[in-house]
Amino acid sequence: MFESVEDVQKRLGEQSYICDKNIATVVFLAGRLEKPVLVEGPAGVGKTELAKAVAKATGRHLIRLQCYEGLDEAKALYEWEYSKQLLYTQILKEKLSEVMAGATSLREAADRVGQEDSVFFSSRFIVPRPLLAAITADEPNLLLVDEVDKSDPEFEAFLLEVLSDFQVSVPEIGTFAARQKPLVFLTSNDAREMSDALKRRCLHLYIDFPSQELETRILETKVPGVGQRLAEDLVGVMQRLRKLDLKKTPSISETLDWARALLALNGTSLDESLVRDTLNVILKYEGDIKKAHGELGRLIARKAEDEAGKAAAAGAPAPAKKASLH
């Protein structure tokens, strides 16, 4: 699937997913060891995006299971198509009476119907849900179990069977084993801790907020219109914002949104009023915005300081734009 760690980085890069070596190593190992990957980290750092990028890079079909509170087997594994079964019995009513014709006792009739059991409990009447679909597919695919922490603890139990043996048991029919082992990604926002049994079966990947340099690269890849200068300024402010004690720390997706918003507003450089006006793109809580407003001067002033420091270090005169920042 992937040749080497560098190969992973390169091919994910082609899908415009820029990642560091840590992520690449885990993805590479997941392919080699045929083990699921549990991806954890704050919201918006690109956990789901990683799975999508891997699917694209390897040409696998992506099957996605979105978890939520109350998700059960019927939604995740398979479901009997109840109304179809019922419809068939209605249509086959006459045939059924034929089968039962001549039966002398109730028991005999029941036995005869019983012999036809397998007609109504066959794969014909099964609606495969994502987990079963991933197992039974002919083509190699990628199963993404998104936000697995939102599901209930019981749900983990039958995930276990799927993840460790790549098989699904349907009591009435038997066990479906995977023809092609799917590549599995589970993502979690750490809303609750997953059970040890589940974790043991997975490789673990923790994606944190990216470094300044990596984030700039991501920004330039994902939003091509943004100039290098604006990208650097933007990322600088974001990195400093993350150091504040905010209710919801903005992550990469917010950086990208912000860059797009600024482009739409034809902003070419960051100044205080522009930042003030667009702050609600990156901060989602009133309290956070208020706090950032208070710190705004510092956020941008420090940027100016950085620049001054950089300019001094480079021995060049401070850029003229600096004046407008104050």
């Binding site: 760690v5 070596k21 190992l29 549990l38 509170e69 109350g70 750490d190 040890d196 490789l203 706090k291």
Partner: protein, 475 residues
């Protein structure tokens, strides 16, 4: 390599990172797939297979650095320095390379007549990885794993040196030099060699000491870490430093998450109702009575309501800071929650907590939240009376009333009947008192008067007690 990884696994386990056998096996399989040469990749491979909790990553990183690099690098530094700083008797630096070349020639000439131990050979040829292995083995055999404090470093260093017979190796090397002199090697060179040997031996001793110290650090890391956490849990809410407050906040946040979990499971169980036969028949009339659509009874969700009364008088100042923090977290979990603070008067702070972030909210609440005067003497009776008069409507049969306070009433009228009235209306009343039960009812404490109207009364001064109570609170 294999042994080193297993040892590292053990180290992780001791530091509280749970690494199962299956995971250790995964690690080996993973290492077959990646090149071990790249340090970063090597670390990531170990981390992804062994460490499964985000919280454990810092521990892993710390131990990884401690275990996988520092020593070899230290060893190299020590011997590099030894080789460079050596001077032949006249103060000129020794040309180690030339010396070694000469040595090799000479040794070939006297085949068989020299007998060197492995350590001596490793020293002479500067085979550092072999040297590292020898030190590791010897240290293991000398029982360095049992090291407990700084005072034992010298002792274990000596034992390790004895274990690998450093003295013997030194003697052999000196004899070798002597033999070389007899074999016709120029005196200056032999002197240089002797000098070098002494320096190597010293470097070896230093390295062993370093190894022992590092071992101590490793053993202590988990120990200190565990000790720190335990003591924090046991510590009373009084007298906390800034740093401890920060850590405590993290723990309370985790606790709140747990409550959320319990809530979600409860909700889910309630959602599955029984088959609703009546409605189902009626709705399926259109299909000739064939039940195509299955209808379940919808049960009403039982969302717990919470009313919190928190004492913020000066006698419980430090406790109430944390109680308020707990209240704040609770407010994020429960939808139907009202929070009040009191000293003598009573004031609602629900909105205040919603608007502000946790620190500001607590500061504000401790200050009376603009609604009450905190510079009076606490009067529980008066506060309960006000609650009964103004807010009794907030209490119904789904409401849990949570009182946080020490019930030190300054000899005022306890007005226990107010709490009794509240109790009659509420689902239950929970009282968390920072004082221990033996003090209840003594002095100006009127806890005993309130007890009949309280369903659960608990002593709660620290997190451990709090987390035990939490289960009861939700159920």
């Amino acid at each position: 390599m294999q042994r080193k990884i297993l040892e590292f696994t053990n180290l992780l386990r001791k530091s509280g990172v749970r690494v199962s056998v299956a995971e250790a096996i995964d690690t080996f399989v993973a290492l077959d797939e990646v090149s071990v040469g790249d340090r970063e990749v090597f670390r990531d491979a170990l981390r992804t297979t062994m460490v499964k909790r985000g919280d454990d990553i810092p521990t892993f990183d710390h131990l990884f650095d401690l275990y996988w690099s520092a020593f070899y690098d230290g060893l190299r530094d020590a011997f590099d320095k030894a080789a460079q700083s050596g001077t032949d008797g006249k103060g000129a630096p020794i040309d180690v390379e030339a010396l070694m070349r000469q040595l090799r020639d000479q040794l070939e000439g006297m085949q068989g007549s020299v007998d060197l131990s492995e350590l001596a050979k490793a020293l002479l040829t500067q085979d550092l990885s072999r040297l590292e292995q020898l030190i590791r083995d010897a240290a293991q055999q000398s029982g360095v794993g049992r090291i407990e404090n700084m005072l034992q470093v010298g002792f274990f260093t000596r034992r390790t040196m004895e274990q690998m017979d450093a003295e013997g190796a030194g003697r052999q090397l000196r004899e070798l030099a002597q033999k070389l002199r007899e074999g016709g090697m120029p005196d200056a060179q032999v002197d240089a060699l002797m000098e070098l040997i002494e320096r190597y031996l010293e470097a070896l001793r230093q390295s062993v000491r370093q190894f022992t110290e590092r071992e101590l650090q490793q053993r202590n890391f988990d120990y200190m870490e565990k000790f720190r956490r335990e003591s924090l849990l046991e510590k009373s809410f009084y007298n906390l430093t800034e740093d401890e407050i920060r850590q405590m906040r993290e723990v309370v946040t985790r606790l709140a998450h747990r409550i959320k979990n319990i809530l979600s499971i409860r909700k889910r169980r309630l959602k599955k109702g029984k088959l609703d036969l009546h409605t189902m028949l009626r709705r399926n009339m259109a299909h000739g009575g064939v039940p195509f659509e299955v209808v379940y009874k919808q049960r009403k969700k039982d969302r717990p309501k919470l009313v919190i009364l928190c004492d913020v008088s000066s006698s419980v100042a430090n406790v109430s800071r944390f109680m308020l923090q707990f209240v704040y977290q609770l407010q994020e979990c429960f939808h139907k929650i009202r929070s009040f603070v009191f000293v003598s008067e009573l004031g609602e702070v629900t909105q205040l907590f919603k608007d502000l972030d946790v620190n500001q909210a607590i500061e504000k609440a401790l200050d009376g939240g603009d609604v009450i005067n905190v510079y009076t003497r606490s009067n529980f009776g008066h506060a309960f009376h006000l609650f009964w008069r103004d807010y009794l409507a907030a209490v119904d049969d789904k409401t849990t009333v949570l009182v946080l306070g020490d019930a030190r009433n300054n000899y005022n009228d306890a007005k226990a009947w107010c709490l009794r009235e509240v109790h009659n209306k509420a689902k239950n009343v929970v009282w968390l008192n920072p004082e221990s039960p033996s003090a209840w009812g003594f002095g100006d404490s009127v806890m005993d008067k309130y007890l009949p109207s309280v369903d659960v009364a608990e002593e709660c001064r620290n997190l451990r007690q709090l987390s035990r109570i939490v289960d009861r609170l939700v159920l």
